[in-house]
């Protein structure tokens, strides 16, 4: 048995400490960070000031129409324009969702881009995505875009096995030719370091980025190359002490401090193959990348990308402020996505139909007393989704009472107490005990019963 090191005295009180500086309820729970955080890099202790993130110009970028679309059949032009419009509404006047990227190869791609820009939104800025092919800059130029992403894959899996370069130097020279072509075309290149978490960092990535920085120093500031760190296979690790190439802290430090890539030109693009995608994005922010690249509801190649809506909630939690974001649009976007056939699991955070629906009667009892007990934040205010209970044999009378009150919109002293809902509660239990039912009871079924058992309330609130 481990020997206790310290005795802890009970702090008795009659008033609850709800820790409201962390859990304000009208905002998502806040993330208060204290520093410094130490990471050992090449044998040296390096300090990171996480608390500075509150004042740093961190932002979100979006790739719903590029990586997101690689995971599904193509959107129609109208669908993309509507989604872009909603993204702008969610982003708000400060442009927290700063950019979104578009394919440029087909007529439909270009028409979509034109229609999105015709909406006149300042944010998200529209950028392009092309292969690392010199001729493709013509497309970017013709589209009138100032910035484009381009593939600069950097692991030997890609350099040798996929792209068939004979040497790393040949590969680097080829990439740099394309970057030079971007500069010539007056287009800012955003170099996507594909498969960076499986690359030889010291042997290829850093020398390549050094060269990009040298090339950038010879062009106007607005053309200088941006770097997107692409965790193509989701190998990135957030833990302090993890080794390169998988360590996100070390990767960002090396590029930021050793290569001198400013934070506002560093972006993280993750994948969710190991269920780490959201935390890895947040980690990138904390260690010095200003941008985290996301997709709506995490739709993206294979297991997907950092979910945009989760990044939005994380952003507010780190900043301690809404920053102009209209989070209710997350629900609008989820409803729209479902309406065009994209599946969002019911228990999916912030956007699933049942993300704040409890099935346990004991939890429903808590909700009945104070919704903060079992609701993550004021989901009605922030997401237009009040906490709800789904009715099953586990719901108990508390769950049924909560459903009834929510259905009739009753609050405070107007709420119907448990005793008055006993007939409906009995009907629910008998569905399982007598009828042998195995599925949850739908809202539609409950509404029929609510009309039967509470005719006065129905008359007053529903007719």
């Amino acid at each position: 048995m481990v020997k206790a090191k310290k005795k802890h005295r009970l702090v008795d009180t009659k008033a609850p400490n709800l820790i409201e500086d962390v859990f304000p309820y009208n905002l998502p729970p806040l993330i208060h960070l204290q520093g410094p955080v130490v990471e050992y890099i090449d044998g040296e202790a390096v300090e990171f000031d996480f608390a500075a993130v509150k004042d740093r110009p961190i932002l979100i970028t979006d790739t719903t129409f590029r990586d997101g679309q690689q995971a599904r059949p193509p959107y129609t032009i109208e669908q993309m324009v509507h989604i872009y419009d909603l993204l702008a509404k969610l982003s708000g006047p400060n442009g927290v969702i700063r950019q979104t990227e578009f394919f440029l190869y087909t007529k439909n791609d270009r028409e979509t881009l034109d229609k999105c820009r015709a909406l006149g939104h300042t944010y998200p800025e529209c950028t392009g995505w092309i292969r690392a092919v010199k001729g493709d800059f013509r497309l970017v130029k013709e589209a009138g875009l100032k910035e484009t992403g381009m593939l600069t894959s950097c692991s030997d899996y890609h350099i040798f096995q996929k792209l068939k370069f004979r040497t790393r130097k040949e590969c680097m020279d080829s990439y740099c030719e394309v970057v030079a072509a971007a500069f010539e075309a007056g287009v800012r290149p955003r170099c996507h370091l594909e498969d960076v978490t499986r690359a030889d960092i010291e042997g290829f990535v850093l020398p390549f980025v050094d060269r990009l920085m040298e090339m950038s120093s010879e062009v106007p500031q607005e053309l200088s190359a941006k770097i997107r760190l692409c965790d193509t296979m989701g190998f990135g690790i957030s833990y302090p002490g993890a080794e390169l190439p998988r360590s996100i802290p070390k990767l960002i430090y090396k590029l930021n401090v050793e290569c001198g890539v400013p934070s506002d030109r560093l972006e993280w693009h993750g994948h969710n193959d190991f269920s780490k995608v959201h935390t890895n994005g947040g980690t990138a922010w904390l260690y010095g990348a200003d941008f985290v690249n996301t997709t709506l509801f995490g739709f993206g190649e294979r297991t997907g990308n950092p979910p945009l809506e989760s990044a939005v909630i994380e952003y507010i939690a780190l900043k301690g402020d809404m920053c102009g974001l209209d989070t209710r649009v997350i629900t609008e976007l989820a409803d729209y996505m479902r309406s065009i056939g994209l599946p969002i699991p019911d228990n999916y955070p912030f956007a699933g139909r049942a993300f704040n629906v409890t099935r346990a009667g004991i939890h429903a009892g808590g909700l009945r007393q104070d919704e903060r007990i079992y609701n993550i934040f004021d989901t009605e205010k922030l997401l237009s989704k009040p906490p709800r209970v789904a009715i099953t044999d586990k719901s108990g009378a508390d769950g049924v009472a909560h459903w009834v009150n929510e259905f009739f919109g009753l609050t405070g002293d107007d709420r119907i107490n448990k005793i008055r809902i006993h007939k409906l509660a009995r009907w629910v239990i008998d569905q399982y005990d007598v009828e042998g039912r195995l599925t949850a009871i739908s809202d539609q079924e409950l509404e029929v019963k609510a009309k039967e058992f509470f005719p006065d309330y129905w008359e007053k609130y529903k007719s």
Binding site: G361, G396, A397, D398, N417, K418, I419, R420, I421, H422, A425, R426, V428, I429
Partner: protein, 84 residues
Amino acid sequence: MATVEERVKAITAQKLGVDDIKLEDSFTADLGAESVDSIELVAMFEEEFGIEMDEDAALAVQTVGDAITFIANVCKEQGVEIEQ
């Protein structure tokens, strides 16, 4: 008129399908009342005695004897005549 004890025991026996009810019997542990049974019992007591009971206080009552005392007090407060 039957006493409060007789009326409470009769309703409990009818609702829970038990007999030989003792004053010290717990509604849940001894007589097998589940969540919904409890609120149905409270509703039936209210109807039987023509009273309204505070939900939390009524559902906090554990035993048959305590229920008799509780109901008698509520009847007194609400001016309902009963046979003790």
